[in-house]
């Protein structure tokens, strides 16, 4: 995965201006990252580390994280599912359901879903599992409408980054990637000091694990600096900031 440290992402800028926006998440945000099938010599991240360095800081930071019902149903790993269920039950995770829409909106949602699906392996008539979660999430987001979709390494990201997004009802939807949120969590000091290194490790695991990635992506320190160059001015002028970690709060 390529890290972009040269262009501002309007979606991240919007989030910096107001962190209390609804952020729909893809299933891959809840499943511990595992590059062992693509990178020799690497292992899967354990759920406990994933929770400690990724999921918990994310939920501490953003009050309106959400997940589409179909994505929720796709969480088959016991620990991921249990974690999402607990967060939902505690009121920390919004489950987006298409039944919320009235008749007119539902007609619109279905038409958007059909157009988006044409660019994926999902067939609405068959309701097959391939890309279903991503397509349904994006169709919901476009209908609502919401500003973002946060995903990692999926067809949804590529759709949101492709020129056709304008034609398929997703013109105003921005993609947010994991490295952007890792930067945000670090910059806003949303983790305890002993967990700061976890963000760096997560970054390294996802973006700087192989020789080729090291050539293409900056190391954590440089990454942080370059992201600061892009976003610090926005952060300074932002009034809507999450409450940073403090030993006293």
């Amino acid at each position: 995965m390529k890290v972009n440290v040269t262009d501002q992402n309007p979606a991240l800028v919007s989030l910096i201006h107001n962190f209390a926006q609804q952020i729909p998440l893809d299933a891959n945000f809840f499943i511990p990252f595992d590059r062992s099938n693509t990178v020799k010599g690497s292992m899967a991240i354990t759920f406990s580390a994933f929770k400690k360095y990724w999921l918990d800081p994310l939920f501490v930071t953003f009050p309106y994280l959400s997940i589409h019902a179909s994505v929720f149903n796709e969480l088959v790993s016991g620990e991921s599912k249990k974690y999402a269920e607990n967060r939902r039950d505690q009121g920390n995770l919004i489950v987006m359901d298409d039944s919320e829409f009235d008749t007119n909106k539902e007609v619109y949602r279905k038409s958007v879903e059909k157009v988006i699906a044409a660019h994926t392996a999902y067939e609405p008539e068959l309701d097959n599992a391939d890309d279903r979660g991503e397509v349904k999430s994006l169709a919901y987001i476009a209908t609502k409408p919401l500003n973002f979709f946060a995903s990692h390494d999926s067809r949804a990201l590529r759709l949101l980054e492709s020129p056709i997004k304008e034609k398929i009802g997703l013109a105003s939807v921005g993609a947010i990637e994991i490295y952007e949120l890792l930067y945000y969590l670090r910059r806003m000091e949303m983790v305890e000091p002993d967990k700061v290194n976890g963000l760096k490790m997560m970054y390294k695991y996802l973006y700087c694990l192989t020789k080729k990635e090291k050539e293409n992506n900056p190391q954590w320190g440089d990454f942080y600096q370059l992201m600061d160059n892009l976003y610090k001015s926005e952060i300074i002028k932002s009034t809507g900031k999450p409450t940073p970690y403090s030993p006293y709060n």
Partner: protein, 289 residues
Amino acid sequence: MLTTEDLYTIEELAKEKRRMLELGMGPLGDNLFKVLRTLGIQLIQIPFSNEENESDNPLAALYLSSKEEDGYSICYIGLNTTDYWDKQIFALAHELYHHFESSDPFVLCRGLDHSSDIRELKANRFAAEFLLPTEKLIHEIKEKNRGNHDLKGWSTNALLRLIAEVHCDYRLPFKAIVRRLLEAGAISKATLENLLKIDARDPEGIYYTLGANINLKTFQQLNSRTNLFGVEGENLGKLIENYEEGKVSLSELSDDLSLFGKSLDDYKLMEKADSEDDDLALLFEEEED
């Protein structure tokens, strides 16, 4: 039962397709796989068996075609590889008939031996004709029978040797060859029934012994179940092209390949971690809640 007109039409169709594909009239055998590639048919091999009752296997093969909006169509043949190799070849030729004649985008073929469905009978007949054209069969008989295509009076042993030769050369299953001999007027119905009583797969049986002495390697292969799983290398190459063109990510490619029992390592696409995992050790540690 097929009518004389049906038989004529199928024979002509097989001839036409052989001409179109520049196959001549000789044995096709394993070249059938090349025919599928030429026709752009994607072959998916699946070892699929009914564990409870092997004789009630729900699938011999299936044909599936999908017409896209732009008129481009994708065709697939799914082949059950728990069948014997010669039956697999026959099933492929059978599905080719559906490819040529069918407007139906999905055709599921269960056991090919006992179907009474007229379309399936036609597909069986086409398969037999495509793999072993009637005029070629008659030529083979005449070669062995001093120009005469009537095999009446031949001993069972002599008939079995002839069938085994045809079996090894044309890769048509024993029963299909026996039926073809009747259709060509070379043997009587009574002889056909006697021959069909023989267990041609029994390694201790007379037919197997004779066949193994004609061409041991080929005969054993024809009588083995390949149990292969996956698609041909060329088709998997398409998946890799999708990755190279940025249509799928490396992890999605890895998932797709795993469906066919392959990994990135099989294509030298596996990347290598550039440092020891010690740097990332905390990510791999289990912690108690």
